[in-house]
């Protein structure tokens, strides 16, 4: 059925181009039926893309190797779940997934907002259509998933390192994030084009931005966890360009989420917000360009392909047009409200934005530096881990502190006495914590100690806020403490959901600080029966076993673990040798301590024929807080995303006051 797939994508391209041209004409000329027709085209393009996606999925599931893509990414023996993940495992399929999510989001965003923001939607449609035209063009002309060949007896199979559950969740989540950022971008550009610079574009896209940002964040954490347990080099983030490709738009989106609050409450930062959303979207495109084009040396990257120049051209065009538009609308974007004091909540949010942006740009510079230096000096110069770590500390630590200050400092102008009163308790907690940690030996890493102290401060403010809020609700007449707590959160979802997310970031900071500033490593070559020590752990290498499975030989060393004089059980570490693919993978042994969140991480680096093994062992304090942070982040995001009926009613009431029909 590849012809159906190809035809469906061609129709998608046609519909996108129509939506672009007709939509722009309808918006410019104010033609209602033409505008509706363009909207229908956008929705229809989702249906046709879905048809194409179904064709590819069906071909994968029935192992139809006449599809070149299917033959390249799967094999008969591949389990069904991974066969499905092969959809996004290769260039063409992943582009199709991008297009599917894009058209889906476009259809949804336009349909859901059609009723109350019609004059804005009419401009959003052509912008969305422009983006989907680009991606449709790529899958039709440059990288089609429906190329055919004489079917070989079996496919090439999937790299063993991709055959794990992470492959099912990590890429789709990242795509939901990247593509999701298109929605606020399209609405922002639509608002600029139409001159409708009121709050509606922000209100319409707030949940979309939150959703995309949350998906991007969780997708990255999943990727880190994958790297930690499966790739097993002992770390979870290598500042690899492709990892940074997802981090940069996430940082820009984080800045945007915060500055949007300032625009909502004080009407300030309008130009800034539009620039931020353009940056976030451009970085998302740039990120996928980095991943696909092979332009930088990366552990993920895929070789030089034809797709790079197209992406670069599209990014350049997007940035140029967007900035030109902002510049032309500058007078209308200026807000009358000014920043009154450098010590205020507005200022704190501004510092937050500046720091996030500084970190984002520092990472961007690190990523493009090899390309820039090659262009200027003829030689690619690579910036290493120490560069990124330095800026993460320089900008990240102040950001951490700000997370505790921002929510509590007064609006407009904060007096020093009010600061002293508000922050007395959390500062006390932080100083005591810092002193105790110093005594316990945390002075071995100053950045680590600072991170711990700042985290204590922020956690103190969060606990204080929850406690005082619950007490206030109880005083207002809540039946019991739990119901006071519950109603506090449900009536103030954005604020307290935000606090939960902040708590997640603190957990993340603690986990990262602990596992990178206070970790230890030991290496030893052990014969059977020999032992090694690290920290207060003792490991004894007991035995070596081999086991054959369907597609691999599994070799595992068993070690006894002891801490002090307590037996802690056994640990297994070794390698898998995949027969068909002729590859070896590392299978690390991890023992997580429930109480302290510490990990004992064992790598069997080299297994000699006589059974002696070269082991590399890490102790990583607090590392499991990172994964816990992911869970807390998810909870916080859900709370803030949860629909708020009261807010909805207020918006509908406001719309009808102006005479905009709320539904039709």
């Amino acid at each position: 059925m590849p012809e159906l797939g190809r035809a469906a994508l061609l129709v998608t391209l046609g519909l996108s181009m129509y939506a672009l041209v007709a939509g722009a004409a309808a918006a410019h000329l104010g033609r209602r039926r033409l505008a509706r027709s363009a909207q229908n085209a956008l929705v229809a393009s989702f249906v046709t893309t879905a048809v194409a996606a179904a064709v590819l999925l069906a071909a994968l599931l029935r192992n139809d190797f006449s599809f070149t893509y299917v033959a390249r990414t799967t094999s008969e023996a591949l389990p069904t779940a991974y066969t499905i993940s092969a959809f996004w495992g290769g260039q063409e399929g992943s582009l199709l997934l991008w297009l599917l999510v894009l058209t889906g989001f476009g259809a949804a965003a336009v349909s859901l907002n059609r009723g109350w923001a019609r004059d804005l939607i009419v401009w959003v449609v052509p912008v969305f259509a422009a983006v989907s035209t680009f991606f449709a063009f790529l899958v039709v002309v440059v990288a089609s998933p429906f190329a055919t060949q004489a079917a070989p007896p079996d496919g090439a199979g999937m790299t063993p390192s991709l055959q794990n559950p992470y492959m099912l969740a990590h890429p789709p989540l990242l795509y939901l994030g990247y593509v999701g950022l298109t929605v606020p971008f399209a609405f922002a550009i639509g608002a600029l084009l139409s001159g409708r610079l009121d709050e509606r574009w922000l209100i319409a896209t707030r949940r979309w931005t939150l959703f995309a940002w949350a998906a991007l964040g969780i997708g990255q954490l999943l990727g880190s966890h994958w790297a930690y347990v499966e790739v097993g080099w002992g770390g979870y983030y290598a500042w690899d360009p492709v990892e940074n490709a997802a981090l940069m738009p996430w940082l820009a989106a984080t800045a945007f989420l915060h500055s949007v609050m300032i625009q909502e409450k004080r009407g300030m930062l309008r130009v800034w917000n539009v620039l931020l959303v353009i940056l976030a979207f451009s970085l998302a495109l740039f990120g996928t360009f980095l991943t696909r084009s092979g332009v930088v040396n990366s552990i993920h990257s895929f070789t030089q392909s034809a797709i790079g120049p197209w992406f670069l051209a599209f990014i350049a065009l997007t940035v140029a047009v967007s900035l030109g538009l902002v510049f032309s609308r500058l007078p209308q974007l200026r807000s009358p409200t000014k920043l009154e004091s450098p010590i205020s909540r507005e200022a704190a949010f501004l510092y937050n934005n500046l720091l996030l942006l500084a970190l984002c740009l520092a990472i961007l510079w690190g990523v493009v530096y090899p390309m820039v230096s090659e262009a200027l000096r003829g030689e690619a110069v690579v910036l290493g881990r120490s560069y990124y770590d330095f800026f993460l500390r320089a900008f990240g630590l102040p950001l951490l502190l700000l997370m505790g200050i921002g929510p509590l400092i007064a609006w407009r102008r904060a007096s020093l006495t009010s600061l002293a009163t508000t922050f007395r308790w959390p500062t006390g907690v932080a100083l005591v914590t810092g002193a105790v940690l110093l005594v316990l030996g945390a002075g071995s890493s100053i950045p680590g100690l600072v991170a711990y102290t700042f985290s204590a401060f922020v956690l103190g403010t969060i606990v204080m806020e929850f406690a005082r809020g619950t007490r206030a609700r109880k005083a207002l007449g809540a039946a019991s403490w739990p119901s006071a707590f519950g109603s506090l959160i449900s009536r103030n979802r954005r604020r307290y959901g935000g606090y939960v997310v902040h708590a997640a970031i603190v957990l993340l900071a603690l986990g990262v600080a602990g596992s990178s500033a206070f970790d230890s490593v030991a290496e030893a070559k052990l014969a059977r029966g020999e032992s090694m020590r690290i920290g207060d752990y003792t490991l004894v290498y007991r035995s070596l076993n081999e086991r054959a499975t369907a597609n691999a030989t599994e070799i595992r060393a068993t070690l006894d673990v002891r801490r002090g004089d307590r037996e802690l059980g056994t640990l297994q570490a070794g390698k898998n040798a995949y027969t068909i693919e002729q590859q070896v993978s590392n299978e690390v042994g991890i023992r997580s301590d429930r109480l302290t969140g510490e990990d004992l991480f064992v790598i069997a680096e080299q297994i000699d024929p006589d059974g002696s093994i070269y082991f590399r062992v890490f102790v990583k304090p607090l590392v499991n807080l990172i994964w816990l942070a992911g869970l807390v982040f998810l909870i916080g995001s859900v709370i803030t995303l949860w629909p708020d009926r009261r807010e909805q009613r207020r918006l509908v009431a406001r719309a009808s006051e102006v005479g905009i029909p709320a539904t039709r």
Partner: protein, 107 residues
């Protein structure tokens, strides 16, 4: 192969119909004008947003006073200006309704 072509053709036709639908449904409409906000309405929307923003700021001050983030002294100091903001926003709205046609007389 033919099945694929038939399906593809059906898909294409369906899409053309979807796109042409607004024109098929209303071949001779009373008005083809896009329902847009005119300048008056846009000004009014801006004023409404100002009012809602001032009200929200007041509400937030109350909340933060109740939870203890804002001290009694600061609360008293900020209450006045915020109440004045709300009042001037409401006044501006009233002036706007007085000048233009009232909202419920339209459409």
């Amino acid at each position: 192969m033919t099945l694929a072509l038939v399906l593809a053709a059906t898909l294409a036709v369906a899409c053309v119909v979807a796109v042409a639908l607004p024109f098929i449904r209303e071949p001779e409409p009373a008005s083809d004008e896009l329902d847009e906000l005119d300048d008056e309405e846009r000004v009014r929307l801006g004023l409404l947003e100002e009012r809602d923003r001032a009200l929200a700021a007041l509400k937030e001050l109350e909340f933060e006073h109740r939870t203890g983030t804002v001290s009694d002294e600061d609360y008293r100091a900020q209450l006045g200006p915020l109440r004045r903001d709300v009042a001037s926003a409401l006044q501006a709205l009233a002036r706007d309704s007085g000048e233009g046609r009232p909202a419920d007389e339209r459409n």
